[in-house]
Amino acid sequence: MNYESDIEYCYQIKQATFCKYVLITPSKEVQLTFPQMLELRRKIYDLTTFNTLNEIINTDNFVLLFVADKQHLIYLDIPQLLKLKEEIELFFLDFNPVLV
């Protein structure tokens, strides 16, 4: 099974400049500002609660999601959705306030 490694390359988040981020999808690269990034985080967290995941699996088995202030529509199946959640969690991990 090498689907894990395929997913690896599906959705990634990179930092472009100080306040620009890039969401790399299989078909395109989407530029995100920090507020757009927070909104993506919120949506992905909402979609990956136990109940919502269950609902998705029992219906379409995929989600369509607007990102970057509705400028882009992305397609996510369940593994991609979970992978993107991990990617976002990683991105926000280790928040260390800087002591000035």
Binding site: Q15, F18, F34, L38, Y45, F92, F95, N96, V98
Partner: protein, 168 residues
């Protein structure tokens, strides 16, 4: 990358999520107090009605305080859904008891955010929440005092009890 996130937002992302939940809780409390105000208003319980209208406004102010705090610190405040507001009560005493229960739940929720902020070294939120902790202890005290009046005046007509409540 972490340092960059830090520069964009000065509160911890997990704490931000809890604060957004708290906004929803305060707005729900506001809606709930509005229902209580209406119940009292319809029954000419003048002091109680004033009390709950005022509570409804205060809870909205609390929500707004947290709302602007999140955005001022680079986070994303979320306007919440408010559903399942109860408009049905069995007695005036039950109205106040529900109010006290609600306040205790809010206090516990604030403590939970405070603890998380501490654990995550989010000093900004920790200091911000101190006002809420003081506020909650006062709120709980207000409700407990009113429930004491019920105990003292058991068996008296409702309107007489209502007239004994402290006016704002």
């Amino acid at each position: 990358m972490n340092a960059v996130v830090r520069k964009q937002m000065s509160i911890h992302p997990d704490v931000m999520d809890l604060l957004n939940n708290q906004i929803a809780m305060e707005m729900k409390a506001s809606a709930s107090y509005l229902a209580m105000a209406s119940w009292c208003d319809q029954r000419e319980l003048l002091n109680s009605k004033d009390f709950f209208y005022k509570q409804a406004e205060e809870e909205r102010e609390h929500a707004m305080k947290i709302f602007t705090f999140i955005n001022d610190n680079g986070g994303a405040a979320v306007s919440p859904n408010v559903t399942n507001v109860n408009n049905d009560f069995e007695s005036l005493r039950a109205v106040y008891e529900t109010g006290l229960e609600q306040e205790i739940a809010v206090t516990e929720s604030i403590f939970k955010i405070f603890k998380t902020a501490r654990k995550q070294d989010d000093y900004i939120t920790e200091v911000f929440l101190q006002w809420f902790i003081t506020e909650q202890s006062e709120e709980e005290d207000t409700f407990r005092s009113i429930l004491d009046v019920f105990d003292l005046m058991e068996g008296m007509p409702l309107k007489m009890i209502d007239e004994r409540f402290p006016k704002e």
